[in-house]
Symmetry: D4
């Protein structure tokens, strides 16, 4: 048994590394969006030419990024979505909704204080974690049946 796990959401902390470290030795292929923030913002205009309006600048980049993110969401066996402390993070919630409609098992990761605002997202999830270590423990259990400790 092998798993494709897509790690969506927050790109400003090292939570992905923590999840991956906690999964050492497991048969998991992790994937993620492009986490280089400036590249992600500018990929559209850098390749396809500049735009004067910010709106189309963003559109071009979002279109290119969606090639990657949609592909990875569709391929994933499990989707983990992280909501951090800051920012609107609407793309994280969008990914969660998209994954949910595809019937993908969802793990949502967020600090406790976001609980009420994320209640619809959490409800669609198989598990709601507060730390990336817990995400790793879930994945280890799913693959091996072994519990922590």
């Amino acid at each position: 048994m092998t798993l494709q796990v897509y790690l969506s959401g927050e790109i400003h902390t090292d939570w992905r590394e923590t999840v991956m470290a906690g999964c050492e030795g497991l048969d998991i292929q992790f994937s993620a969006p492009v986490t280089d923030h400036p590249a992600s913002d500018d990929c559209g205009v850098a390749i396809l030419g500049p735009e004067e309006k910010k709106f189309w600048h963003d559109r071009k980049g979002a279109g290119v990024n969606a090639i990657r993110t949609r592909h990875l969401l569709e391929q994933a066996d499990v989707v983990v979505v992280r909501f951090g402390e800051k920012y609107k993070q609407w793309n994280a919630a969008f990914d969660a909704g998209y994954a949910s409609a595809l019937g993908k098992p969802l793990v949502i990761l967020h600090p406790e204080e976001h609980g009420h605002a994320l209640k619809e997202v959490d409800e669609a999830a198989n598990a709601v974690a507060e730390t990336p270590e817990q995400v790793a423990q879930i994945l280890r259990y799913v693959l091996t049946g072994r519990l922590p400790g």
Copy 2:
């Protein structure tokens, strides 16, 4: 030609009424989530019994609300998602992602300043409007071919 239009998102202004008023005379069936905020928050415990933990209080309510919202999303021919000035509104972005994965035509409605934060959501949309009047004009054009003015 008739349309089922689901109006998702913000529940603290009268944008839904403005859209509907602008669509008078058109063959459209509008639907929406429960917009009575306290009822929406408490429906789970009010019917199925109280919970001490806020997390499960929210979970029960979100589960019941999802019966309505998923049904309406699946039935809709067009999904309009409104992001207002305030709050996290992750459920709005979740609905947009869900609708997008189902292949529903999407109209996103938000103030200009949210453009960058919503770029992934906007990219998935057929149209991005700034006012509910524009949404009504889009629906009128889609149904009749007539433009405003």
Copy 3:
């Protein structure tokens, strides 16, 4: 907004009538399996000829009943599954699994003491109720946004 609600499961108490009575005035079309137990058991052989082996007697009947139950499951907007006090009720759990795989919103209705044995079924549900009155209240809320009391 109208709902097709399929009432699956236990056929030895009047829980369906209680749900329907509690939904008076709502725009709901209820459906159910054939609840005449002897007819349900014998429909196959009564129409298509007798079988000596009980196994094929049952198979013929189950095939005919499945024409109705699969059709109603596929048409339903919401599926309610009732587990009563007695019997194995594997067909109820089968229906719950079938409905879940189709992405139908599920309401599970069972006495509290079945909770542990039904935990996988409950987990797939939008709501878990203990009384048919609660089911009616859920449906009323889903359709009208109004809470009991």
Copy 4:
């Protein structure tokens, strides 16, 4: 030709080992739910924190287990579901219904005396066996065209 076979249901006897032993030499990848009963019951709270109420204790565990079981059901080419002598085994029937709605070929394994209670489940199956040896013989025939004896 290779097969992914998911062995669902009863976890208190060694029927899975018997099926696997009978399939030696065949190109089959077997999978199963977590069969360590205490780990399966407690995985949710062990990883995500304790719950006072048994209902939520169970819910957390069922959510985590469903990541594994849904994934394996979706990946499977053939689903075998075993109903043993004891317990309610509603999760087994739920899995059978889920697999059936996905269009997976089903083999049901149960003692003869459960025949009437399982008639709807059996009707959805390609084959109904009474022993794990028969399941192995079916899989051998499916892969090689060779019959026993």
Copy 5:
């Protein structure tokens, strides 16, 4: 509860009329392929111009007929396929396979002596009848729960 029932297969006897007569008073919409044999054979060339080769003469007609038959198969809630005494009737078996892959409940109607040749088709069916009267009784039971006699 209403049913769309597609009556596929043999066009040289009045079995469709017998089924429909036996269903008087039920809420069923019956449909069928074009049963005017010469019209069915020649519709392609009659409308779109003649062909010298019989193969393309047939192809044109089959293409036009498939507009009707595919539409009715997709719309049907139940598909009944009749195999008569004579002819190859490969289109009937094709329809049965097509309906089966769509997950439609199937009723197969054929004389007993075709049993072995039709075993794969029968296996995919919910019910195998020998007379059109039995088909009507099945439909009556499915809709009303009432058995004959």
Copy 6:
């Protein structure tokens, strides 16, 4: 039996009127894209504000028009696509491909001289007509079994 027929493609001749006139008395609901060429070209900017670049002017309009055309394609039972004498008509071919992937019965209408260039499109079709009168005759036959003359 009723049919939803979407008439896609060329908007500069009255072929739609000819098809509809030839179908008088039949139970068909015809639909079409917006055929007012300037409105179709400018709907995006007329409603959502002007664009300096022609590319985004076109994008906005195409997004709005796609709300209508995708909806009608998805709802259609039969899709007719007309290729006229002039212009590139890539949107007509796009619609044909889209409808084909959805499994919709397709009727292609074009002058004989376009045959070679349209061979891939024609191959995906149930029927290839040269005149709108033939399209009407096909629809009449599909609904009634009656041939012209």
Copy 7:
């Protein structure tokens, strides 16, 4: 580019060997139903116990065989269906209908004289061949772009 090709239909001549010989060197994985006629007829009762009635004898076998055939049909990239000179071959036509509903590219292989009786099946096909050598040539062209001779 690799292809999974399922060779369905007639089991009394060596047409499968001829197709495979003609495809030497190509990256194709061929599959087929069990072609040992007695094993195929008796697999159900040989494994699951005898039946007095021929009908249930056949049913048991057909159920077991369907595990293999449905799996191979679903996995196939191309389905080839052979209709021979003799027998009813309804299972071949059933497979063709099943494959067609799944959207699989179909190649039909039959002697010219069956053309009229198979016109609905041929119409659903990408190609209609008269010899297994032609089938091999089609597969070689599809994989390499090279034509015979």
Copy 8:
């Protein structure tokens, strides 16, 4: 992360080679239709026998080619469609529509002057490029997150 990329459309320039050269070192499997124009035109009659009418000559070839092109479209993770300077190229637009309905990420490649005529096709795309070098840069970014320059 690996990608299957289907390069559809124009076959008279070396744009495919340019894309592939620009993707050196990336984990991409490229595929394409048969680009040998005479073979593509004549494959049907070369294998399955000559036709007097050009229409059926074309039909036979298109049917055989569709085995390859549909397979590759369905397998692809990303579909690139090139519209060149010349010809009608309706098959390219058909492929784009087909891929769009399947939900495949689309990259459209065309000279600027085709922008207005391709606006519906462009609207369905994730990215619109003018040069094959840009297509390669998009694919490199999607796989590695690295931007050119």
